[in-house]
Amino acid sequence: MSRAVPVPSIGLYLRGLIVGVAVAGLFAAVGVQLVRLSLVARTEIRVASAEPIGRVFSRPDILDRGGRLVATDVAVPSLYADPAMIIDLDEVIEKLMRTFPDLDAAELRKSLGDHTRRFAWIKRGLAPRQAQRVHDLGLPGLAFRQEPKRVYPAGALLGHLIGYVNVDNKGAGGLERYIDDNLGIESVLGAAPSRIPPVALSIDLGVQQGLAAELKEALTRYQASGAAGLVMDVTTGELVAAVSLPELDPEKPVEAQADGRENRLSTGVYELGSIFKILTVAMALDGKTTTLDKIYDVRQPMTFGQHTINDLHPAGRPLSVRDVFIHSSNVGAGMIALEAGSARQMGFLSRLGLLSGARTEAGPVAAPIVPKRWGELETVTIAYGHGLATTPVHFSAAVAALLNGGSRVTPTVLARRTGIVGERLVSAETSAGIRELLRLNVTSPHGTGRRADVAGYRVGGKTGTAEIPGKGGYQRKAVISSFVAAFPMDAPRFLTFVSLFEPRASEETKGQITAGLNAAPVTGRLIARIAPLLDVLPERATQEAASRAN
């Protein structure tokens, strides 16, 4: 079988080589692709949305002090259109207008008639039933997207603090705005719940409700034009409750702009009247320019040029600092302040933070109105709470520092995990002196605060009835009557502040509009109601006395 093997020519050999290499290359490519497909992790396939979608945001929940839900996001359907897909524009507009009469037909025609657009919102945040009705219309070019929508289960109870969000679920005021700026919100497609941990408030919903209910009752009982109140932890500055009436519904942000709807606790500045005597006495005690037993002759009114400073109920005898406080003598307070001096007074108030603006997480706290000229007359009027207008939040924080042993507190609406020890503002002795005076003002039969007493809870407090400045001077009949109190007074834990705006005289108040007869009893009822919620136990001795009496 010897056949002559044809000697392959160079050309044939080359051809074979080329084919061989090509085939091997192809096999190798197939092999590589197989390995790649089986080994390499597939990148996630996402359906790219054809339409440019408006950004929406998912927000963290807001909880109260005890973990109760105050604000959360729920998914709601929002209706949009792809104008390029719309067949019969007139039909779409007519049917949509029949379903949602509040839509603007002209606006709709403009946005849906533009065939270059692929996306246009029609109506956002629909109820499930509304969405079903639109779905049943069976119109091409209309579609829904799930979007997060902020809801407030607690309703208007926390309205002034919470603020509000806009249609994209972005914070536009109050605490919601603070969350955007400081804690961050997530831009989302659809309505995924937020992964940001919830925000814990210092507010306790139960206490907040107690305060709101008492203030609402006071509003009708004393026919006041408004009311405000707060409960503050004196060591941490946490606001446990903060109510300003009328309330604000966070779901109706338009209302916030209406007159008289401002947050009277932080955006309104007021001359707060005699409750300022707490600061005056603290200043003099801390500066050691007086002692609790020092006697002042308050029998004569003070005169500065054409101004005369009187006492509402002149005592007709010289008074000690204790008596000046419980009789709420303007002349006495003026004398104590003059003795200490204007510079000391200004420095003291400034140190307490009363002369500058501030802010909490719920928004700015208005700057006070400070007199341009701070002379002797101003020193005297400020001593009893006129001539310097400040916010209740400012004032409460200052008094909290005087009560807690002398450390500065910074008001907050967020829960503080640890008690922050602030800078020392006054000595422990001064703080003890102020506590004694406040308690005395409630226990003494002559004290202006005796109607605020609650058996067992050792309440201490001070009244303030400030005439509201009107045209041509102060108005005798229009006052802000306030009561600042703390309990339990031997080691104060909570401060309460209650203000009634323009209360009317009634039979119950014996024809008077002074704070001792309206704001003080409101505070008493408030403390009786909230102390159990705040884990403050009533004192044993008084408790036994009470049960014997029953």
């Binding site: 096999f27 109760r68 959360t72 607690a154 109870l157």
Partner: protein, 129 residues
């Protein structure tokens, strides 16, 4: 030899093609399953959010307060606190009081009509059974 190699390679390629197709098909199935799962999680999460909001709405203090008032409840008064050591005495005293009150009621008002009615109903129920 070369032919054998070619045939083997061809068979291998076809086999891997089928294998790949199978894997891809399975993957698609799994992906669809995963997506369905994710969608249902999303829906559940949405439902949970709504239910939590509804629960919080129903438990808002304003509403609870009105309901509690209707039941005759109110804030705790100072004298209602009892120390653990005094509990025994307090319970006995209140039981004693309740017993004497009941006796007093019975002597003043005669028989308890409602109780009689309830008994009557019980016995009627017993008969029908």
């Amino acid at each position: 030899m070369l032919r054998l190699l070619s045939v083997a390679a061809m068979a291998l390629t076809i086999a891997s093609a089928f294998g790949l197709y199978q894997t891809k098909y399975d993957t698609r199935q799994l992906e669809a399953k995963l997506q369905a799962g994710e969608r249902s999680i999303e829906k559940m999460e949405g439902d949970i959010a709504v239910l939590r909001a509804e629960k919080a709405y129903l438990a808002r203090p304003e509403r609870i307060e009105a309901l509690a008032k209707r039941q005759g409840l109110g804030p705790i008064a100072g004298h209602q606190y009892v120390l653990p050591g005094e509990l025994q005495a307090k319970v006995q005293a209140s039981q004693h009081e309740a017993a004497s009150q009941k006796a007093e009621k019975a002597s003043v008002r005669g028989p308890d009509h409602i109780e009689a009615l309830l008994r009557q109903q019980d016995s009627l129920a017993g008969e029908t059974r």
